[in-house]
C-alpha cells in the first residue's frame, strides 16, 4: 500500500511539533473550510469551525493511523465539529452570507449563471434542518455509506435513510421553485 503523503507530518505533529501540523493545515484547509461552509452556510462561522476542527484533530492525532489518508479523516472531524456546534446552538434565521456576494468579481454571463446556480444550491442546503444537512454532507461530499453515516452520527440506519431521502426531496422542491434565468 502506498504511504500517505502526510505521514511524516502526522508523525512529527504527534511528537508535539505544532509547525508540522501547521503544514497539514495549509494542505487541507480549503477542503475542511468547504465542509464547514456547507454545514454552517456562513464564511466567518465556517472559518471558525475549520480552525476548531483542526485543533480538535491535533488533540486526537495520537489515535489516527498515519498510514491512512489524512484528508477524509480531517473532513469527517470538521463535519462532527459543525454538527456539535449546530446541536448546541439552535439554528438562527437562514440568511445568505452577504460577504460572499460582496467580494464577487464581475463575471461573464455564463460564469454569472453558474455562480447563481451555486448560490441557489448553497441557499437550499442552508435551508435544510441541520441533521438533514449532515447526512447530505456525509453521503454526497464525504461519500460515506449509509452504515458509516449511521455509525458516525450514532443514529439508526433507518434514520439515515429517512433523513437523506427527505433532504433530497426538500432540495428537489426548493431548487425546482427557484426562478429560472
Amino acid at each position: 500500500m502506498e504511504a500517505s503523503p502526510d505521514r511524516d507530518l502526522i508523525l512529527r505533529a504527534r511528537r508535539g511539533e505544532a509547525e508540522a501540523f501547521g503544514e497539514l493545515v495549509r494542505a487541507h484547509q480549503a477542503g475542511v473550510f468547504n465542509v464547514c461552509y456547507r454545514m454552517m452556510g456562513e464564511r466567518r462561522e465556517a472559518e471558525d469551525m475549520a480552525q476548531e476542527a483542526f485543533i480538535r484533530a491535533y488533540q486526537r492525532i495520537g489515535t489516527f493511523d498515519a498510514e491512512r489518508p489524512f484528508g477524509p479523516w480531517m473532513r469527517r472531524v470538521a463535519a462532527n465539529v459543525c454538527l456539535n456546534h449546530l446541536a448546541a446552538h439552535k439554528p438562527e434565521a437562514a440568511e445568505l452570507d452577504e460577504e460572499r456576494d460582496a467580494d464577487s468579481a464581475p463575471l461573464p454571463e455564463s460564469g454569472r449563471e453558474a455562480r447563481e446556480e451555486a448560490e441557489q444550491v448553497r441557499a437550499a442546503l442552508k435551508g435544510l434542518p441541520s441533521h438533514y444537512r449532515a447526512v447530505v454532507e456525509l453521503r454526497h461530499y464525504q461519500e460515506m455509506s449509509y452504515e458509516e453515516i449511521a455509525a458516525e452520527l450514532k443514529i439508526p440506519l433507518s434514520d439515515v435513510k429517512s433523513h437523506l431521502f427527505r433532504a433530497r426531496k426538500i432540495l428537489a422542491e426548493t431548487l425546482s421553485h427557484e426562478p429560472s434565468h
Partner: protein, 187 residues
C-alpha cells in the same frame, strides 16, 4: 402498476440496491414515464450537489491554528505579581534572619566562614539609627527606634513561613499554562 417508492429511487441512485431489486427497478423505469420523471428530478439534485464548486478560503488558517496549539504562558493576575514581590522581600529578610541559625547548625562543617552575629547587626543598626536620630534631632523631632530580639524559635518560624510561601507561590506560578485555547480565544 405499482410505482417505485422514493426509497427505491434513492437507493437506485445511491447504488445500494441489491442486484435483483436493481434489475426490477430498471425494468419498471423503462415502462413507467412517471417514475422515470421522478428519477430524473432526483438525479438533478445529485448533479446540483456534485457540481457545487469549492469556495476559496479568504485567509490562511494555519498561523492561527499553530498559535492556538503553542503553549502560551498565562498572564499573571496583579495580585500574584504582588505576591511574587512580597516573596522576594520576605525571602531576603528570612535569609538575613536565619544566618545565625545556619551558623549554629554548620559551625563544624564551615568553620572558616565568619558571619556577623545578630547582636553585631543590631549594634550596627542601632548605630545607624543613632546617626539618623542625631541627624533628625537637629530638626527637633524624635526618630523611632526599633528594638528587635531574634530567638531560634522566631527564626525557625520565619524560615518555615517563607518556605511555605515560596512553595505556594511557585505552585501558582508554575500552574499548567499549556491549555489549548478554544475557539472563543482564537480571534
Amino acid at each position: 402498476m405499482n410505482h417505485l417508492t422514493d426509497e427505491i429511487l434513492n437507493e437506485y441512485l445511491d447504488n445500494t440496491l441489491p442486484p435483483a431489486a436493481r434489475a426490477v427497478a430498471e425494468s419498471h423505469l423503462r415502462a413507467c414515464a412517471d417514475c422515470e420523471l421522478r428519477l430524473d428530478e432526483l438525479a438533478d439534485v445529485f448533479s446540483a450537489l456534485s457540481a457545487l464548486p469549492e469556495l476559496e478560503l479568504a485567509r490562511d488558517l494555519s498561523a492561527d491554528v499553530v498559535r492556538a496549539l503553542t503553549p502560551q504562558p498565562m498572564p499573571l493576575p496583579r495580585l500574584l505579581k504582588w505576591t511574587a514581590a512580597l516573596q522576594a522581600a520576605a525571602a531576603l529578610v528570612a535569609l538575613i534572619a536565619s544566618l545565625p541559625l545556619l551558623q549554629t547548625l554548620f559551625v563544624f562543617e564551615i568553620p572558616a566562614v565568619s558571619l556577623p552575629t545578630v547582636p553585631d547587626l543590631l549594634a550596627r543598626l542601632d548605630q545607624m539609627a543613632l546617626g539618623v536620630q542625631e541627624f533628625f534631632a537637629r530638626f527637633q523631632f524624635q526618630a523611632p527606634r526599633l528594638t528587635l530580639e531574634f530567638s531560634s524559635l522566631f527564626i525557625t518560624v520565619a524560615v518555615f513561613s517563607v518556605t511555605l510561601l515560596w512553595l505556594v507561590g511557585n505552585g501558582l506560578l508554575l500552574r499548567p499554562s499549556n491549555q489549548i485555547r478554544s475557539q472563543g480565544d482564537l480571534r
